[in-house]
Symmetry: C2
Subunit: 233 residues, 2 copies
DNA sequence: TCTTTCCGTGAACTGTTGTTCAGTTCTTTG
DNA sequence: CAAAGAACTGAACAACAGTTCACGGAAAGA
Protein backbone atom coordinates (compact mmCIF):
# COMPACT_ATOMS: atom_id res chain seq x y z
CA UNK A 1 0.00 0.00 0.00
CA UNK A 2 1.54 3.25 -1.09
CA UNK A 3 0.48 6.43 0.55
CA UNK A 4 0.50 9.32 -1.90
CA UNK A 5 -0.09 12.95 -1.12
CA UNK A 6 -3.07 14.25 -2.96
CA UNK A 7 -3.06 17.65 -4.55
CA UNK A 8 -5.19 19.06 -1.85
CA UNK A 9 -2.80 17.94 0.84
CA UNK A 10 0.20 19.17 -1.05
CA UNK A 11 -1.33 22.58 -1.33
CA UNK A 12 -2.28 22.62 2.30
CA UNK A 13 1.27 21.77 3.25
CA UNK A 14 2.65 24.47 1.02
CA UNK A 15 0.21 26.97 2.41
CA UNK A 16 1.15 26.05 5.92
CA UNK A 17 4.80 26.37 5.19
CA UNK A 18 4.20 29.75 3.63
CA UNK A 19 2.11 30.86 6.55
CA UNK A 20 4.85 29.96 8.98
CA UNK A 21 7.32 31.96 6.95
CA UNK A 22 4.88 34.81 6.77
CA UNK A 23 4.35 34.67 10.51
CA UNK A 24 8.10 34.85 11.00
CA UNK A 25 8.27 37.81 8.65
CA UNK A 26 5.54 39.64 10.48
CA UNK A 27 7.16 38.96 13.80
CA UNK A 28 10.46 40.27 12.50
CA UNK A 29 8.80 43.34 11.03
CA UNK A 30 7.13 44.11 14.32
CA UNK A 31 9.71 43.20 16.88
CA UNK A 32 12.89 42.47 15.02
CA UNK A 33 14.60 39.12 14.92
CA UNK A 34 14.34 38.87 18.67
CA UNK A 35 10.62 38.36 18.19
CA UNK A 36 11.16 35.48 15.83
CA UNK A 37 10.84 32.71 18.36
CA UNK A 38 9.43 29.32 17.63
CA UNK A 39 6.52 29.41 20.02
CA UNK A 40 5.22 32.89 19.12
CA UNK A 41 5.71 32.30 15.41
CA UNK A 42 3.90 28.98 15.63
CA UNK A 43 1.15 30.64 17.56
CA UNK A 44 0.84 33.41 15.01
CA UNK A 45 0.64 30.83 12.24
CA UNK A 46 -1.96 28.92 14.24
CA UNK A 47 0.07 25.75 14.55
CA UNK A 48 1.85 24.03 17.38
CA UNK A 49 5.50 24.57 18.08
CA UNK A 50 6.38 21.07 16.99
CA UNK A 51 4.73 21.64 13.62
CA UNK A 52 7.28 24.25 12.74
CA UNK A 53 9.87 21.52 12.85
CA UNK A 54 7.95 19.52 10.25
CA UNK A 55 8.70 22.31 7.81
CA UNK A 56 12.01 23.70 8.96
CA UNK A 57 14.83 21.62 10.39
CA UNK A 58 15.73 24.33 12.86
CA UNK A 59 15.12 27.91 13.76
CA UNK A 60 18.29 28.81 11.93
CA UNK A 61 16.85 27.40 8.72
CA UNK A 62 13.62 29.26 9.17
CA UNK A 63 15.43 32.54 9.64
CA UNK A 64 17.78 31.75 6.79
CA UNK A 65 14.86 31.35 4.44
CA UNK A 66 13.27 34.52 5.73
CA UNK A 67 16.46 36.44 5.15
CA UNK A 68 16.86 34.98 1.69
CA UNK A 69 13.29 35.92 0.80
CA UNK A 70 13.62 39.48 1.96
CA UNK A 71 16.94 40.02 0.27
CA UNK A 72 15.68 38.50 -2.95
CA UNK A 73 12.81 40.96 -2.99
CA UNK A 74 15.17 43.77 -2.19
CA UNK A 75 17.50 42.94 -5.03
CA UNK A 76 14.63 42.53 -7.46
CA UNK A 77 13.25 45.92 -6.53
CA UNK A 78 16.62 47.55 -6.96
CA UNK A 79 17.15 45.90 -10.29
CA UNK A 80 13.78 46.89 -11.56
CA UNK A 81 14.20 50.48 -10.49
CA UNK A 82 17.65 50.68 -12.02
CA UNK A 83 16.67 49.02 -15.27
CA UNK A 84 13.95 51.58 -15.73
CA UNK A 85 16.46 54.42 -15.58
CA UNK A 86 17.68 56.07 -18.78
CA UNK A 87 21.41 55.81 -18.20
CA UNK A 88 24.08 54.27 -16.00
CA UNK A 89 24.31 57.18 -13.61
CA UNK A 90 20.63 57.49 -13.05
CA UNK A 91 20.41 53.70 -12.81
CA UNK A 92 22.88 53.84 -9.96
CA UNK A 93 20.96 56.65 -8.37
CA UNK A 94 17.71 54.77 -8.79
CA UNK A 95 19.12 51.62 -7.26
CA UNK A 96 20.49 53.47 -4.28
CA UNK A 97 17.32 55.43 -3.78
CA UNK A 98 15.26 52.29 -4.11
CA UNK A 99 17.09 50.43 -1.42
CA UNK A 100 17.17 53.47 0.80
CA UNK A 101 13.42 53.78 0.54
CA UNK A 102 12.83 50.11 1.12
CA UNK A 103 15.10 50.03 4.06
CA UNK A 104 13.55 53.00 5.83
CA UNK A 105 10.08 51.74 5.06
CA UNK A 106 10.76 48.47 6.80
CA UNK A 107 13.37 49.46 9.29
CA UNK A 108 12.81 46.72 11.82
CA UNK A 109 12.83 44.08 9.16
CA UNK A 110 15.92 45.46 7.44
CA UNK A 111 17.72 45.73 10.74
CA UNK A 112 16.75 42.21 11.61
CA UNK A 113 17.76 40.80 8.27
CA UNK A 114 21.12 42.48 8.06
CA UNK A 115 22.42 43.28 11.48
CA UNK A 116 20.37 42.53 14.54
CA UNK A 117 21.82 40.14 17.08
CA UNK A 118 20.27 36.68 16.87
CA UNK A 119 20.87 33.76 19.15
CA UNK A 120 21.25 31.20 16.39
CA UNK A 121 23.90 31.32 13.75
CA UNK A 122 22.70 33.18 10.67
CA UNK A 123 25.98 34.51 9.46
CA UNK A 124 25.85 32.61 6.23
CA UNK A 125 22.44 33.73 4.97
CA UNK A 126 23.20 37.21 6.17
CA UNK A 127 26.44 37.20 4.32
CA UNK A 128 24.64 36.10 1.19
CA UNK A 129 21.99 38.76 1.59
CA UNK A 130 24.58 41.45 2.06
CA UNK A 131 26.57 40.16 -0.85
CA UNK A 132 23.57 39.99 -3.15
CA UNK A 133 22.58 43.54 -2.36
CA UNK A 134 26.13 44.83 -2.52
CA UNK A 135 26.67 43.02 -5.81
CA UNK A 136 23.74 44.77 -7.34
CA UNK A 137 25.05 48.14 -6.22
CA UNK A 138 28.49 47.20 -7.40
CA UNK A 139 27.21 46.32 -10.85
CA UNK A 140 25.60 49.72 -11.16
CA UNK A 141 28.72 51.50 -9.99
CA UNK A 142 30.72 49.47 -12.43
CA UNK A 143 28.44 50.38 -15.29
CA UNK A 144 28.57 54.06 -14.48
CA UNK A 145 32.31 53.84 -14.15
CA UNK A 146 32.67 52.09 -17.50
CA UNK A 147 30.54 54.81 -19.03
CA UNK A 148 33.04 57.34 -17.79
CA UNK A 149 30.66 58.96 -15.35
CA UNK A 150 32.65 57.95 -12.31
CA UNK A 151 36.34 57.99 -11.47
CA UNK A 152 38.14 54.69 -11.55
CA UNK A 153 37.82 52.93 -8.21
CA UNK A 154 37.51 49.67 -6.34
CA UNK A 155 33.85 49.02 -6.92
CA UNK A 156 33.60 46.18 -4.43
CA UNK A 157 34.69 48.36 -1.55
CA UNK A 158 32.64 51.25 -2.83
CA UNK A 159 29.49 49.16 -2.97
CA UNK A 160 30.07 47.81 0.51
CA UNK A 161 30.67 51.27 1.88
CA UNK A 162 27.54 52.60 0.24
CA UNK A 163 25.49 49.82 1.74
CA UNK A 164 26.99 50.46 5.15
CA UNK A 165 26.33 54.17 4.91
CA UNK A 166 22.70 53.68 3.95
CA UNK A 167 22.17 51.13 6.63
CA UNK A 168 23.81 52.95 9.47
CA UNK A 169 22.28 56.29 8.63
CA UNK A 170 18.76 55.03 8.02
CA UNK A 171 18.12 51.98 10.16
CA UNK A 172 20.97 51.76 12.64
CA UNK A 173 20.63 52.86 16.23
CA UNK A 174 21.87 56.31 15.36
CA UNK A 175 19.27 56.85 12.68
CA UNK A 176 17.14 59.92 13.23
CA UNK A 177 14.31 58.92 15.55
CA UNK A 178 11.66 60.95 13.78
CA UNK A 179 11.59 59.02 10.53
CA UNK A 180 7.91 58.35 10.93
CA UNK A 181 7.30 61.82 9.67
CA UNK A 182 7.09 61.30 5.90
CA UNK A 183 8.80 64.57 5.14
CA UNK A 184 11.69 63.91 7.46
CA UNK A 185 11.90 60.47 6.03
CA UNK A 186 12.05 61.72 2.47
CA UNK A 187 14.67 64.27 3.40
CA UNK A 188 16.75 61.64 5.11
CA UNK A 189 16.56 59.37 2.11
CA UNK A 190 17.58 62.18 -0.20
CA UNK A 191 20.40 63.26 2.03
CA UNK A 192 21.81 59.79 2.33
CA UNK A 193 21.39 59.08 -1.35
CA UNK A 194 23.24 62.25 -2.16
CA UNK A 195 26.03 61.26 0.20
CA UNK A 196 26.26 57.82 -1.36
CA UNK A 197 26.41 59.16 -4.88
CA UNK A 198 29.00 61.74 -3.99
CA UNK A 199 31.03 59.04 -2.30
CA UNK A 200 31.46 57.13 -5.52
CA UNK A 201 32.25 60.30 -7.40
CA UNK A 202 29.00 61.51 -8.86
CA UNK A 203 29.30 65.25 -9.24
CA UNK A 204 26.34 67.53 -8.97
CA UNK A 205 23.94 64.70 -8.35
CA UNK A 206 21.39 67.11 -7.08
CA UNK A 207 21.82 69.57 -9.91
CA UNK A 208 21.53 66.78 -12.44
CA UNK A 209 18.27 65.65 -10.96
CA UNK A 210 19.51 62.24 -9.95
CA UNK A 211 18.32 62.42 -6.38
CA UNK A 212 14.91 63.92 -6.63
CA UNK A 213 12.76 61.03 -7.73
CA UNK A 214 12.08 59.81 -4.24
CA UNK A 215 8.71 58.17 -4.36
CA UNK A 216 7.53 56.75 -1.12
CA UNK A 217 5.73 53.43 -1.45
CA UNK A 218 2.84 54.63 0.64
CA UNK A 219 2.35 57.92 -1.15
CA UNK A 220 2.86 58.05 -4.91
CA UNK A 221 2.17 54.58 -6.20
CA UNK A 222 5.07 54.55 -8.66
CA UNK A 223 7.18 52.34 -6.42
CA UNK A 224 7.41 48.76 -7.64
CA UNK A 225 7.02 45.88 -5.19
CA UNK A 226 4.92 48.06 -2.96
CA UNK A 227 2.65 45.08 -2.46
CA UNK A 228 4.70 43.51 0.24
CA UNK A 229 2.01 43.36 2.84
CA UNK A 230 4.03 45.13 5.42
CA UNK A 231 2.54 46.02 8.70
CA UNK A 232 3.94 49.43 9.38
CA UNK A 233 5.32 48.35 12.74
CA UNK B 1 37.26 46.47 65.48
CA UNK B 2 37.32 48.26 62.19
CA UNK B 3 38.68 46.53 59.18
CA UNK B 4 40.45 48.94 56.87
CA UNK B 5 41.76 48.17 53.44
CA UNK B 6 45.44 48.67 53.34
CA UNK B 7 47.07 50.27 50.35
CA UNK B 8 48.37 46.96 49.25
CA UNK B 9 44.92 45.44 49.23
CA UNK B 10 43.37 48.39 47.50
CA UNK B 11 45.90 48.12 44.77
CA UNK B 12 45.42 44.41 44.48
CA UNK B 13 41.69 44.91 44.11
CA UNK B 14 42.18 47.53 41.47
CA UNK B 15 44.65 45.35 39.68
CA UNK B 16 42.26 42.47 39.76
CA UNK B 17 39.44 44.55 38.42
CA UNK B 18 41.68 45.80 35.67
CA UNK B 19 42.84 42.30 34.88
CA UNK B 20 39.28 41.08 34.53
CA UNK B 21 38.54 43.93 32.16
CA UNK B 22 41.72 43.20 30.29
CA UNK B 23 40.82 39.54 30.07
CA UNK B 24 37.46 40.51 28.65
CA UNK B 25 39.15 42.77 26.16
CA UNK B 26 41.55 40.08 25.05
CA UNK B 27 38.75 37.60 24.71
CA UNK B 28 36.80 40.06 22.61
CA UNK B 29 39.84 40.85 20.48
CA UNK B 30 40.42 37.19 19.79
CA UNK B 31 36.97 35.75 19.48
CA UNK B 32 34.59 38.66 19.43
CA UNK B 33 31.96 39.35 22.04
CA UNK B 34 30.81 35.77 21.82
CA UNK B 35 34.04 34.82 23.55
CA UNK B 36 33.36 37.17 26.43
CA UNK B 37 31.76 34.69 28.77
CA UNK B 38 32.08 34.81 32.49
CA UNK B 39 33.79 31.48 33.01
CA UNK B 40 36.45 31.86 30.29
CA UNK B 41 37.11 35.47 31.19
CA UNK B 42 37.45 34.57 34.86
CA UNK B 43 39.76 31.75 33.94
CA UNK B 44 41.87 34.01 31.77
CA UNK B 45 42.12 36.48 34.63
CA UNK B 46 43.00 33.64 36.98
CA UNK B 47 40.02 34.07 39.25
CA UNK B 48 36.89 32.09 39.89
CA UNK B 49 33.66 32.86 38.13
CA UNK B 50 32.09 34.16 41.30
CA UNK B 51 34.89 36.66 41.76
CA UNK B 52 33.90 38.48 38.63
CA UNK B 53 30.66 39.35 40.38
CA UNK B 54 32.57 41.05 43.19
CA UNK B 55 33.71 43.59 40.64
CA UNK B 56 30.90 43.76 38.13
CA UNK B 57 27.21 43.45 38.99
CA UNK B 58 26.52 41.53 35.81
CA UNK B 59 27.97 40.49 32.52
CA UNK B 60 26.17 43.40 30.91
CA UNK B 61 28.04 45.82 33.16
CA UNK B 62 31.34 44.20 32.39
CA UNK B 63 30.75 44.48 28.67
CA UNK B 64 29.41 47.98 29.02
CA UNK B 65 32.61 49.06 30.69
CA UNK B 66 34.65 47.32 28.05
CA UNK B 67 32.74 49.06 25.30
CA UNK B 68 33.08 52.42 27.01
CA UNK B 69 36.82 51.94 27.41
CA UNK B 70 37.36 51.02 23.82
CA UNK B 71 35.25 53.81 22.47
CA UNK B 72 36.91 56.33 24.76
CA UNK B 73 40.28 55.33 23.39
CA UNK B 74 38.94 55.51 19.88
CA UNK B 75 37.60 59.00 20.30
CA UNK B 76 40.77 60.17 21.98
CA UNK B 77 42.88 58.85 19.13
CA UNK B 78 40.66 60.52 16.57
CA UNK B 79 40.75 63.80 18.42
CA UNK B 80 44.47 63.71 18.77
CA UNK B 81 45.00 62.96 15.12
CA UNK B 82 42.60 65.66 14.04
CA UNK B 83 43.97 68.29 16.38
CA UNK B 84 47.42 67.76 14.95
CA UNK B 85 46.20 68.56 11.45
CA UNK B 86 46.82 72.00 9.95
CA UNK B 87 43.27 72.84 8.88
CA UNK B 88 39.65 71.76 9.14
CA UNK B 89 39.69 69.64 6.00
CA UNK B 90 42.80 67.77 6.85
CA UNK B 91 41.56 67.44 10.41
CA UNK B 92 38.50 65.70 9.08
CA UNK B 93 40.64 63.53 6.86
CA UNK B 94 42.93 62.71 9.75
CA UNK B 95 40.05 61.78 12.02
CA UNK B 96 38.51 59.53 9.41
CA UNK B 97 41.80 57.91 8.56
CA UNK B 98 42.57 57.43 12.21
CA UNK B 99 39.39 55.60 12.97
CA UNK B 100 39.67 53.56 9.81
CA UNK B 101 43.13 52.44 10.80
CA UNK B 102 42.11 51.68 14.36
CA UNK B 103 39.12 49.75 13.25
CA UNK B 104 40.94 47.56 10.75
CA UNK B 105 43.75 46.98 13.17
CA UNK B 106 41.40 45.52 15.73
CA UNK B 107 38.62 44.21 13.58
CA UNK B 108 37.24 41.63 15.96
CA UNK B 109 37.19 44.09 18.80
CA UNK B 110 35.62 46.84 16.75
CA UNK B 111 33.00 44.46 15.41
CA UNK B 112 32.28 43.26 18.90
CA UNK B 113 32.06 46.72 20.36
CA UNK B 114 29.79 48.16 17.72
CA UNK B 115 27.76 45.45 16.10
CA UNK B 116 28.26 41.85 17.04
CA UNK B 117 25.31 39.98 18.49
CA UNK B 118 25.50 39.59 22.26
CA UNK B 119 23.17 37.67 24.48
CA UNK B 120 22.88 40.35 27.12
CA UNK B 121 21.53 43.80 26.50
CA UNK B 122 24.29 46.21 25.57
CA UNK B 123 22.31 48.55 23.40
CA UNK B 124 22.85 51.50 25.66
CA UNK B 125 26.63 51.42 25.91
CA UNK B 126 26.80 50.62 22.23
CA UNK B 127 24.60 53.53 21.42
CA UNK B 128 26.83 55.78 23.48
CA UNK B 129 29.94 54.44 21.80
CA UNK B 130 28.48 54.99 18.37
CA UNK B 131 27.28 58.41 19.31
CA UNK B 132 30.60 59.44 20.79
CA UNK B 133 32.47 58.40 17.68
CA UNK B 134 29.90 59.86 15.34
CA UNK B 135 29.88 63.09 17.31
CA UNK B 136 33.59 63.47 16.87
CA UNK B 137 33.28 62.95 13.13
CA UNK B 138 30.36 65.31 13.03
CA UNK B 139 32.32 68.03 14.78
CA UNK B 140 35.05 67.78 12.18
CA UNK B 141 32.59 67.84 9.32
CA UNK B 142 30.94 70.82 10.90
CA UNK B 143 34.24 72.64 11.22
CA UNK B 144 35.18 72.00 7.62
CA UNK B 145 31.73 73.08 6.53
CA UNK B 146 31.93 76.29 8.53
CA UNK B 147 35.28 76.97 6.94
CA UNK B 148 33.60 76.76 3.58
CA UNK B 149 35.42 73.64 2.51
CA UNK B 150 32.31 71.53 2.33
CA UNK B 151 28.85 72.11 0.93
CA UNK B 152 26.13 72.80 3.41
CA UNK B 153 24.63 69.56 4.69
CA UNK B 154 23.07 67.67 7.55
CA UNK B 155 26.20 66.87 9.48
CA UNK B 156 24.54 64.41 11.83
CA UNK B 157 23.40 62.15 9.03
CA UNK B 158 26.67 62.63 7.21
CA UNK B 159 28.70 61.58 10.23
CA UNK B 160 26.52 58.55 10.79
CA UNK B 161 26.79 57.53 7.18
CA UNK B 162 30.55 57.92 7.23
CA UNK B 163 30.79 55.74 10.30
CA UNK B 164 28.58 53.14 8.68
CA UNK B 165 30.59 53.15 5.50
CA UNK B 166 33.88 52.70 7.32
CA UNK B 167 32.50 50.00 9.48
CA UNK B 168 30.78 48.00 6.82
CA UNK B 169 33.63 48.23 4.36
CA UNK B 170 36.42 47.49 6.80
CA UNK B 171 35.16 45.23 9.55
CA UNK B 172 31.77 43.98 8.44
CA UNK B 173 31.24 40.53 7.04
CA UNK B 174 31.74 41.84 3.53
CA UNK B 175 35.08 43.36 4.32
CA UNK B 176 37.84 42.09 2.07
CA UNK B 177 39.16 38.88 3.60
CA UNK B 178 42.80 39.58 2.85
CA UNK B 179 43.26 42.54 5.13
CA UNK B 180 46.07 40.79 6.92
CA UNK B 181 48.31 41.79 4.07
CA UNK B 182 49.55 45.20 5.21
CA UNK B 183 49.55 46.59 1.71
CA UNK B 184 45.99 45.50 1.00
CA UNK B 185 45.02 46.87 4.34
CA UNK B 186 46.57 50.24 3.64
CA UNK B 187 44.92 50.37 0.24
CA UNK B 188 41.57 49.52 1.74
CA UNK B 189 41.91 52.22 4.37
CA UNK B 190 42.86 54.77 1.74
CA UNK B 191 40.04 53.75 -0.54
CA UNK B 192 37.44 53.96 2.16
CA UNK B 193 38.79 57.20 3.50
CA UNK B 194 38.63 58.67 0.05
CA UNK B 195 35.04 57.51 -0.32
CA UNK B 196 34.10 59.01 3.01
CA UNK B 197 35.65 62.34 2.22
CA UNK B 198 34.04 62.49 -1.19
CA UNK B 199 30.74 61.65 0.41
CA UNK B 200 30.76 64.77 2.52
CA UNK B 201 31.85 66.85 -0.43
CA UNK B 202 35.62 67.01 -0.26
CA UNK B 203 36.86 67.51 -3.78
CA UNK B 204 40.18 66.16 -4.96
CA UNK B 205 41.00 64.69 -1.60
CA UNK B 206 43.69 62.58 -3.16
CA UNK B 207 45.19 65.36 -5.19
CA UNK B 208 45.27 67.59 -2.16
CA UNK B 209 47.18 65.02 -0.19
CA UNK B 210 44.51 64.50 2.41
CA UNK B 211 44.40 60.75 2.16
CA UNK B 212 47.98 59.71 1.97
CA UNK B 213 49.23 59.88 5.53
CA UNK B 214 48.23 56.37 6.46
CA UNK B 215 50.62 55.19 9.11
CA UNK B 216 49.91 51.75 10.41
CA UNK B 217 50.49 51.07 14.06
CA UNK B 218 53.19 48.51 14.66
CA UNK B 219 50.76 46.02 16.11
CA UNK B 220 48.53 46.05 13.07
CA UNK B 221 49.74 42.90 11.42
CA UNK B 222 50.36 40.73 14.44
CA UNK B 223 47.55 39.21 16.42
CA UNK B 224 47.32 40.71 19.90
CA UNK B 225 48.46 38.49 22.74
CA UNK B 226 49.15 35.54 20.53
CA UNK B 227 50.21 33.24 23.35
CA UNK B 228 47.11 32.35 25.21
CA UNK B 229 46.25 29.09 26.86
CA UNK B 230 43.13 27.57 25.42
CA UNK B 231 40.39 27.68 27.95
CA UNK B 232 38.07 25.04 26.71
CA UNK B 233 34.88 26.30 25.12
C1' DT C 1 -14.81 0.00 6.64
C1' DC C 2 -10.38 -1.20 7.99
C1' DT C 3 -5.50 -0.63 7.78
C1' DT C 4 -1.50 2.00 6.81
C1' DT C 5 0.92 6.09 6.54
C1' DC C 6 1.70 10.51 7.55
C1' DC C 7 0.59 15.04 9.83
C1' DG C 8 -0.17 17.77 13.99
C1' DT C 9 0.22 18.34 18.93
C1' DG C 10 2.21 20.31 23.13
C1' DA C 11 4.18 18.91 27.26
C1' DA C 12 8.57 17.39 28.54
C1' DC C 13 13.36 17.48 27.69
C1' DT C 14 17.96 19.52 26.93
C1' DG C 15 21.83 22.32 26.88
C1' DT C 16 23.80 26.41 27.62
C1' DT C 17 25.24 30.42 30.62
C1' DG C 18 24.61 33.89 33.74
C1' DT C 19 24.16 34.11 38.61
C1' DT C 20 24.19 32.85 43.52
C1' DC C 21 25.87 31.53 48.12
C1' DA C 22 27.63 28.73 51.93
C1' DG C 23 32.02 27.46 52.96
C1' DT C 24 37.12 28.43 52.74
C1' DT C 25 41.14 31.28 52.69
C1' DC C 26 43.40 35.45 53.40
C1' DT C 27 44.04 40.05 55.76
C1' DT C 28 43.59 43.16 59.42
C1' DT C 29 43.36 44.40 64.14
C1' DG C 30 43.67 43.98 69.26
C1' DC D 1 48.02 34.53 68.19
C1' DA D 2 43.16 34.82 68.13
C1' DA D 3 39.02 37.04 66.59
C1' DA D 4 36.59 39.38 63.02
C1' DG D 5 35.86 41.02 58.70
C1' DA D 6 36.52 40.76 53.79
C1' DA D 7 37.61 38.41 49.62
C1' DC D 8 37.59 34.22 46.93
C1' DT D 9 35.95 29.84 45.45
C1' DG D 10 33.33 26.70 42.48
C1' DA D 11 29.68 23.72 42.52
C1' DA D 12 24.86 24.16 42.45
C1' DC D 13 20.99 26.82 40.74
C1' DA D 14 17.77 29.17 37.56
C1' DA D 15 15.85 30.59 33.44
C1' DC D 16 14.99 30.60 29.06
C1' DA D 17 14.19 28.99 24.40
C1' DG D 18 15.12 25.48 20.94
C1' DT D 19 14.13 20.80 20.15
C1' DT D 20 12.13 16.18 20.64
C1' DC D 21 8.74 12.47 20.67
C1' DA D 22 4.91 9.48 21.98
C1' DC D 23 0.37 9.98 21.09
C1' DG D 24 -4.18 11.25 18.75
C1' DG D 25 -6.26 12.06 14.47
C1' DA D 26 -6.87 12.74 9.55
C1' DA D 27 -6.10 11.16 4.87
C1' DA D 28 -5.08 7.41 1.40
C1' DG D 29 -5.50 2.94 -0.33
C1' DA D 30 -7.74 -1.79 -0.42
Amino acid sequence: MVYRRTHQVVRRLEARRASILQAAREAAAEGGMAAVQIAPVANRASVAAGTVYRYFPSKADLIAELIADVSRAEVAAMREAADAAPGPSSALAAAVTQIAVHVVSHRKLAWGVLAEPVDVDVTEPRLMARRDIADEIQARIEAAMQAGHLPSQDTAIAATAVLGALHEALVGPLAPPDLDDPIKLRDAVQTVTLLALRAVGVLDARARGLVVQVTMPAAAAAAPTASEAMTGS
